[in-house]
Amino acid sequence: MGDERDMNTAERALTASHTLEYTYKRSLGPILSRFFTGLRDRKLFGIRRADGTVMVPPREYDPDTGQALDEMVELPGEGVVRSWSWVAQPRPQQPLDHPFAYALVQVDGSETPFLHVVDAGDEANMETGMRVRIRWAGETAGAITDFVFVPA
């Protein structure tokens, strides 16, 4: 039986919060395994591309051609900031709980800047072209978060 009732469309819809949470386990394969093992051992590795240049983090393949790569090259833990963004209010997920910079850092001996974190204390300390060096975490676990860069 139909029951006529007023279902007033002006009513607000119900809302509720929901947390999507999972810890993924990413197997690494040979090249990335060597890179992350290196980080755990406080070493930074890149990989040599067909044109002789070195890219870091290493890829199993050349990004431009798809060609397989396998010659790992150890790099010094310092380099140059090529660009940066200043995060004045870090989000909870982000690696530092105080203001910091995300930066493109070109490590000496490598031709490809990569995205990482510079713990510079203050925005005024950041400048493109500045030298930075790796500061390792107290305990390294074999992850990209094992280090941050600091002004050299």
């Binding site: 006529e4 009732r5 279902m7 509720a16 386990k25 690494l28 060597r34």
Partner: protein, 173 residues
């Protein structure tokens, strides 16, 4: 959560072969306009179906529109009984993180009296007794625990009524 929790193997010298990547994302869901009315009604212990304006079929639960005809349901509602017929069922012996029930349990597709769509729910009955066409009724949580959730119905339970005729529900399998 802190990104420094991300870790491979500890420093025993063996190669790092796995990266642990915790991902935690917060979302704010909206039930949508029409389903909200249905949920508010269930908080009062009422089961409201909605009628498709195209073919007059009664949808329960309602998601606010008819998937077959792509029309938003109008204001007309249909109050449904909490009795119904088991259209089909399964006995589940597989644990699932999202389901807090003890194994084994019975999942049922129930056609509520007055509705033209099935409700997926669980049944409290002897595993040997459950069968297609069985008549069942909802068992509700205590009234003071009712919220805007279909979980107000704890489960269905068999009632002492003759089985429904197969022809009366076969199109809902």
């Amino acid at each position: 959560m802190n990104a420094h929790d991300t870790s491979g193997t500890e420093g025993d010298g063996s190669p790092v072969t796995v990266l642990r990547a915790p991902i935690v994302l917060e979302y704010e869901y909206s039930a949508g306009q029409s389903a909200s009315r249905f949920l508010r009604a269930i908080a009062e212990g009422r089961l409201l179906g909605q009628r498709c304006p195209v073919d007059g079929r009664v949808y329960f639960p309602s998601r606010g529109s008819c998937p077959q005809h792509a029309v938003t349901f109008g204001d007309e509602v249909v109050e449904l009984s909490d009795k119904g017929t088991i259209v089909t069922f399964s006995i589940v012996r597989v644990p699932s993180k999202n389901i807090p029930l003890e194994l084994p349990y019975i999942t049922v597709n129930v056609l509520l009296d007055g509705a033209d769509t099935i409700l997926m729910h669980v049944l409290d009955a002897d595993l040997d007794d459950v069968h297609m066409g069985m008549r069942v009724q909802a068992v509700w949580k205590p009234r003071e625990e009712w919220t805007t959730s279909t979980e107000n119905i704890l489960f269905f339970r068999p009632i002492d009524e003759p089985d429904a005729d197969y022809d009366s529900y076969k199109e809902h399998i």
